[in-house]
Symmetry: C2
Subunit: 138 residues, 2 copies
């Protein structure tokens, strides 16, 4: 017996668990838990500016900005999760759903695209890259 779904590798299960803990930590506004599996040289491409953020302090700033705009309770849900994992490098794609506060104060749904890159370092999966975006205004 196993608690893994058929065809899902142990690495895929670990990555899914890290991903779900991370998104839950965002919903909980728990910054320590958000950062629990991130690399010190982490590279962020976020929805709003700046163009890129490098390292944990800059990553924290992106969450401070997000939480300043996110209505309570924080919505940060995903579907269409696809995990591509080898023994020590992995990436995943997903579609995210959150909410934004517009300049007029109205709350609006905001869907975004997410790509996340991971490496296994000393036996632990670590998030080294996130790319969050929306399409450019046409």
């Amino acid at each position: 017996m196993t608690d893994k779904a058929p065809g899902i590798t142990a690495d895929e299960s670990e990555i899914r668990q890290i991903f779900e803990q991370w998104s839950q930590a965002v919903r909980n506004k728990n910054l320590g838990a958000i950062l629990a599996h991130h690399h010190s040289d982490f590279l962020m491409f976020d929805v709003p500016p700046p163009f890129l953020s490098r390292g944990i302090p800059a990553y924290v700033e992106t969450w401070n900005l997000f939480f300043s705009m996110a209505p309570i309770p924080v919505k940060f849900d995903f579907d269409q999760l696809e995990i591509h994992a080898s023994a020590d490098v992995a990436f995943l794609t997903a579609i995210g759903h959150c909410r934004d506060t517009e300049p007029n104060g109205q709350i609006a749904p905001l869907d975004f695209r997410l790509t996340m890159g991971l490496r296994k370092i000393d036996g632990q999966w670590i998030i080294v890259h996130e790319h969050h975006s929306v399409p450019a205004a046409s």
Copy 2:
């Protein structure tokens, strides 16, 4: 003697070569060469809408749109390339530089973020995902 840089694995060299062939193919407007290493179930998150594109015919549409807006000669250059490769899964990040034609007809530089995901299938690296974006307007 070797033609690889010190510390670069054979997989990283192969992925760099595929990446450089792909970006050269864009500069050459050579659609066949752009598609030379893409998976049939390829997932695209592009700069302009649509929100996502799945499969090769939809990917071709994103290039038709790009070429309709790109001044000649086509600029499609990258720097800050970082490759994370294992034996059969890899991703890379890079900063791209192209040009856009604005509604008033003026040509403007456009910088964008790129994440690309690859899998090795039957001994060949295949591109299964691209995520191109610019930060949302603030």
